[in-house]
C-alpha cells in the first residue's frame, strides 16, 4: 500500500500498463510536457517519451476517432478529452464508431480504447466545464462506463479499463483528483462490473458514485448520530452494472435512495430505479427517492453552483423523509 492522490492513482494505473504493454499509448490536448489540464498525466511524457505520450490539436473528433482506428490496427489507446463536457464534439466517434464497429462487423474486430475525461462541478467553471453526463454513455450498447470514487478504485479500474477489449469511458471527478488514499502497488486490478460497499448499514441503501460517495459518507455519519444506519453502495462502473449487489443491499435494508450529480431527468438514477422496480419491488418498504442536481445548466456564481450540487444536507433530508 502506498498513500497517493486519486490523480496519482490514475497515473499509476496508466504507468503500470504502459510499462507492461508497449501497445498502450496516450493522446490528448496538452497531455505531454504540460501534464494535462489537471496534472493527471504529469511525468508520463518524461517517462515514456514523445512517441507514447502525444499532444493533439484541438480536434476531439479525431482524438477519439483516431484512437478507434489505432485500436482496430492493434494498439490500445488512451485518449484524453479535457472535460467530459466536450464529448458532444466527438459523440459520433464514440457512439457510431467505437461502440458499434464490433457488432457491425459480426464480432470480427474489437475496439480496446479508453477515453479518460474529468467531470463535475465545484470549481466555478460554469455551464460548459462542470457537467456530468454519464447516463448518455450508459445508453450506448458496446461502451462501458467507469466512475471511480477513491484512489484505489481509480487505479484498479484504470488497469481493468486498459485491459478491457471494449471502448471504456473512464470518468474522473475533478473534485476527487487531490483526494489521498491508500493504493495497492503494482498490478492492482478492480474488475469492471463489481460494486463496492463503501459503508455497511442496515436501515437504508444509498447508491451513489464518483464525488457523491463523499457526500453520502458525510451524510451517513450525521444520520448515524440520529440512529439511522446507512449502507452506501458504489457501483464503480455503471456499465456493466452490478445489479445483484444492489438488489442484495435493498433486500437487506428495504429502502433505496439514489444520489447523483447529473441533472435529474434521465440521469442514471432513473435506470437504477427502474431496475429495482422490475426485480426488487417486493423488497421496498418505501418509495425509491433521488437526490440529484436540478434540471438546469450549471451557473457560475459560487452561491448558485453550491445550490446546484447535491449536498450532504439534501441527502440527510431525503433519508429522513423515508422513515
Amino acid at each position: 500500500m502506498k498513500q497517493m492522490t486519486y490523480a496519482e492513482a490514475i497515473r499509476d494505473g496508466m504507468r503500470v500498463e504502459m510499462h507492461k504493454d508497449p501497445n498502450v499509448y496516450l493522446q490528448g490536448e496538452d497531455v505531454a510536457q504540460f501534464g494535462g489540464c489537471f496534472g493527471v498525466t504529469a511525468g508520463l511524457y518524461d517517462e515514456f517519451g514523445p512517441t507514447r505520450v502525444m499532444n493533439t490539436p484541438i480536434s476531439e473528433a479525431v482524438i477519439v476517432g483516431s484512437a478507434v482506428g489505432a485500436a482496430l490496427a492493434g494498439l490500445r489507446p488512451i485518449a484524453e478529452i479535457m472535460f467530459v463536457d466536450f464529448m458532444g464534439c466527438c459523440m459520433d466517434e464514440l457512439f457510431n464508431q467505437a461502440a458499434k464497429l464490433r457488432y457491425m462487423n459480426g464480432g470480427k474486430c474489437k475496439v480496446p480504447i479508453v477515453v479518460r475525461t474529468p467531470c463535475g462541478a465545484g470549481m466555478g467553471a460554469a455551464a460548459q466545464h462542470s457537467q456530468c453526463v454519464e447516463s448518455w454513455f450508459t445508453h450506448i450498447p458496446g461502451v462501458k462506463t467507469v466512475m471511480p470514487s477513491t484512489p484505489a478504485d481509480a487505479k484498479g479500474l484504470m488497469i481493468a479499463a486498459i485491459r478491457d477489449d471494449n471502448p471504456v469511458m473512464y470518468i474522473e471527478h475533478k473534485q476527487l483528483l487531490p483526494v489521498p488514499g491508500d493504493v495497492p502497488e503494482g498490478e492492482y486490478v478492480v474488475p469492471l462490473g463489481k460494486a463496492d460497499i463503501k459503508r455497511d448499514g442496515s436501515d437504508i441503501t444509498i447508491v451513489a458514485w464518483s464525488w457523491m460517495i463523499q457526500k453520502a459518507l458525510a451524510a451517513a455519519e450525521e444520520l448515524a448520530a440520529k440512529g439511522i444506519n446507512v449502507e452506501i453502495l458504489d457501483p464503480r462502473t455503471l456499465v456493466p452494472f452490478d445489479k445483484d449487489a444492489l438488489l442484495k443491499s435493498v433486500a437487506k435494508t428495504g429502502k433505496l435512495l439514489i444520489v447523483h450529480e447529473e441533472v435529474k431527468t434521465s440521469g442514471f438514477g432513473g435506470e437504477i430505479a427502474a431496475l429495482v422496480c422490475e426485480e426488487g419491488f417486493d423488497y421496498l418498504d418505501a418509495p425509491i427517492k433521488r437526490v440529484t442536481a436540478p434540471d438546469t445548466p450549471i451557473p457560475f456564481a459560487p452561491i448558485l453552483e453550491g445550490a446546484f450540487i447535491p449536498s450532504a444536507e439534501k441527502i440527510i433530508k431525503a433519508v429522513e423523509s423515508m422513515f
Partner: protein, 320 residues
Amino acid sequence: MDLKKEQLLDMYKKMVTIRAFESKAVELFAAGQIPGFVHLYLGEEAIATGVCASLETKDYIASTHRGHGHLIAKGGDTKIMMAELFGRATGYCKGKGGSMHIADVNLGILGANGIVGAGMPLATGAAFACKYKKTDAVAVAFFGDGASDRATFHESLNLASTWKLPIVFLCENNGWAISNSQENHQNITDISDRASGYGIPGVSVDGNDVVAVYEAAGAAIDRARKGDGPTLVECKSWRWRGHFEGDPGAYKDPKDQADWLLKDPIPRLEKNLLKLKYATQAELDTIKAAADAEIEAAVKFAQASPQPDPSELLTDVYAD
C-alpha cells in the same frame, strides 16, 4: 507508366468484377431481394481499382457507404459479400452489417461506414498505428466530395499532417452528395485545393482513367510508405446511378449524365489493353464472362445461405 501486363489485366478483372457485382445488385434490389439501403459504385470502378493496385493486405483502407468497390478491389470475396447484402449468416458481418457496413477486417478494412466522413479519423488512427509499430504499412481513407465538407475531413488532415502519418486521403469526387451537386455544397472546383491548408500535397486526376488513378495514388502511397506524410488525392468521376437504389436521380442534367456515361472507365481501359496488345478482345470477353459467372455463383451462394439465428441479435456487442 510502368504497369506490367499482368497488373493491367488484373485491374481490368477487378473493374469488371465490380461492374458485374453492382449491376447484379441493381437487379436484386429492384426484385426486392436485398433489404435496406444500397449505394452503388457503378461508373467509379477505376478509382478503388487504381488505388488498391498499390496496396497490400497489411495496408489499411477506410471505406464508405458506397463500399462494394473498395472491398472487391482490396481482395474481398464476392460470395461472402453477396451473402452480406442478403443479410445471411455466411456474410462478412454475419448479416449484421449489410451493404452499408460491409467489410473484411482481415483485409485491413476499417469498416464501410454509414456516417459520411467517419472513415477518415479511423484511417488516421490506423496510419498512426503503422508508424507507431514501425511497420511500413499505410492507410488510405476513401471519402466523397460531400464528405470533404465534414468536420472529420479537417481534423483528420490536420492531425495526419502535423504527425506526418503514412496515409492517403482519397477523395472520390463523383459530383454529387445525394441531390446536392458539388457547386452547391462547396465553393471550389478542385477539392485537392484543400491540401495546402494542411501543408500537404494535393493532386486531382481523372478518376475514370484507371492508369491515372494508379499513378497518382501510387505516388501518394509511396510517399506515405517512405515516411513523407499524407497526400490528398482527388479522383474526379461521376455517380451513374441515383444516390441509393430507389432514387431515380431526377436532379441530374440528362446531358451531363449522357456525357459521363460515354467516359465509362471500362471501355477506356479495354482500348488501352488492346492498343498495348496486352489482350485480344476475345480474352477480354472471357474475363468479363468469368466475372459475370463469379457473380452468378455469388448470388446462388447468398440465396442458399441460412438466415442468421435470432440469438445472434444479442452476440458481438462486447468482446470478453
